[in-house]
Amino acid sequence: MTLRSDLRLIAAEIPLGARVLDVGCGTGALLAELRDVKRIDGRGLELDPAKVSAAVARGLAVIQGDADRDLADFPSNGFDYAILSQTIQAMPRPGATLTELSRIAARVVVSFPNFAHWSVRAALLIGGRMPRTRALPADWHDTPNIHLCTITDFELLARALGLGVRSRRFLNGASPSLGLHPNLFARTAVYVLESLTDRVR
């Protein structure tokens, strides 16, 4: 099984036997890998019924639903990890979603495309048009990605929500990005957040 590079990084964060909720799990590639390799107790939430069917056919416990509405149905602290991979930029209320996920799970893993990568900056600066990238290929008027952010933006939001950064990793395409100026050189970021108040307790 070949996982997308940010999913490989996420999978590495998840310990054996963890209880995991994957929000926007698609056909369940990550959940299936984590079940087979890490023996997790996994659940998924996915909007597209065809993808839910495919995930269920893999033997995964995936429910069809809209994270913006249906996360409210999950009990508090029911999971060790909640995963939001390449999805936050399409959420109507990214802050509210992060807050919900930190209620549901002890740790929240988020991967997202960095809109401050130099190629994006250059496209806007030189081309004068909304940038299109491999991760964000759609035109501005029909993209599902309505809440694009940069690495700096994401850290500011996490802090404002009272979420601490447990770890941060960066990718430049499929390979790890060197740590220097990630907001300029990383295409993708993978964060593990946890509630600061919980940690103090």
Binding site: D41, S53, V56, A57, G59, A61, I63, D70
Partner: protein
């Protein structure tokens, strides 16, 4: 050791008598209850899939109905190469307690009596249906089910199985169903019961012969409308006239009513609709549906977007409760123009979901 299973106990159109009286939720003890059933595939107590039928269904799930000669009611889902495959599973289906296809119901004659129960048949519940099935499976030597599968009232039974006998159910598949009957569900059922009781041949439920067939036909007509979507009715009939003064849709409903009374008993209809109306799984748990379930059971819940009888919100309430209790649950709302009846039809996406889920057990 389970009792040895006789070959004569397996196959199509079988019936056995339960050795012990059934203690019903009402407190009444029902002695000599019979269960009529069909089995498909080789006897395999470790690989058994129980199918629960809907309100007016019966045990002929994947083989011709022995009374009407019509194909089995769920051949779309049950058969070789289908999601519930008798070449891979031991598949069972029984007529519910209170039914009229061979299991004990109002038209059965009690032991030692000369007349059928009629109005004297005790009130039954969905739980009673499940306990009768459990007692029947004991006789066959099936201790634990790989899965219980049902749509509509069959889904209610699957939920009740998982709630009442969780140690005997590894997984439950609940299609187009609900964990309780809504006021609207009860209201439509009462229209049907009132139609039956308004029939001059009703006689308080103690009728001879066919009984209140006109009232029963009207009950079926009203119920049939609830099984279809507005869009399905419009697409199929619109405002087309069959002949002067009669719309196609009227003729269709009368036909449905007339066919139904050939195969169904009015007292059974009343007993089973009352069992469904009384159904509320959360009730015995202080109103908490989450406490009705065990986290050890796996669930697959399916709804249809055009089903207004058991709308998706009811399935979501089940899913919410299962999430709260930590049970592994899969849920999908499928798209269909056919309303509640969609669960009976051959839908590739329904086959994919149910087949995939059962295949992963």
């Amino acid at each position: 050791m389970p009792p040895p299973v006789l070959n004569s106990a397996l196959g199509l159109g079988r019936r056995l008598t339960l050795p012990d009286p059934l203690r019903l939720d009402s407190g009444v003890e029902l002695a000599g209850a019979k269960v009529a059933y069909s089995t498909y595939g080789a006897f395999d107590p470790d690989n058994a899939v129980l199918i629960c039928h809907a309100l007016t269904g019966n045990q002929h799930v994947a083989s011709p109905d022995l009374k009407t000669g019509k194909p089995g009611w769920w051949e779309a889902m049950v058969g070789a190469g289908r999601p519930i495959d008798p070449t891979r599973n031991f598949v069972l289906c029984a007529n519910v307690l209170g039914g009229c296809s061979g299991s004990t119901g109002p038209c059965s004659t009690p032991p030692g009596a000369s007349r059928p129960y009629g109005s004297a048949f005790p009130a039954i519940t969905i739980g009673d249906m499940v306990r009768a099935q459990a007692a029947w499976l004991d006789q066959l030597g099936v201790k634990r089910l790989k899965a219980v599968v049902g749509g509509s009232m069959g889904g209610a039974q699957a939920l009740a199985w998982a709630s009442l006998l969780p140690e005997r159910v590894r997984a439950a598949v609940v299609i187009a169903s609900a964990a309780r009957h809504s006021a609207q569900n009860i209201a439509f059922h009462e229209v049907g019961r009132a139609a039956i009781m308004a029939d001059p041949d009703w006689n308080g439920g103690d009728y001879d012969g066919a009984g209140p067939v006109r009232g029963l036909a009207v009950a079926r007509m009203a119920a049939h409308v609830t099984y279809l979507s507005e869009r399905a009715l419009t697409e199929r009939f619109g405002r087309q006239l069959r002949n002067a003064g009669q719309f196609e849709v009227e003729s269709y409903l009368h036909h449905q009513g007339a066919r139904f009374v050939e195969r169904f008993d009015a007292n059974s209809y009343i007993a089973i609709t009352r069992a469904l109306d009384a159904f509320d799984l959360a009730e015995a748990h202080g109103g908490s549906l989450a406490r009705a379930f065990s986290p050890a059971t796996r669930f697959c819940v399916v709804s249809f977007d055009s089903d207004w009888l058991y709308p998706t919100a009811e399935s979501r309430a089940i899913v919410r409760a299962l999430n709260a209790c930590g049970a592994p649950v899969s849920f999908v709302e499928l798209s269909s123009p056919h309303g509640h009846d969609a669960f009976l039809l051959d839908q590739p996406d329904l086959r994919a979901v149910v087949g995939g889920f059962l295949g992963s057990l």
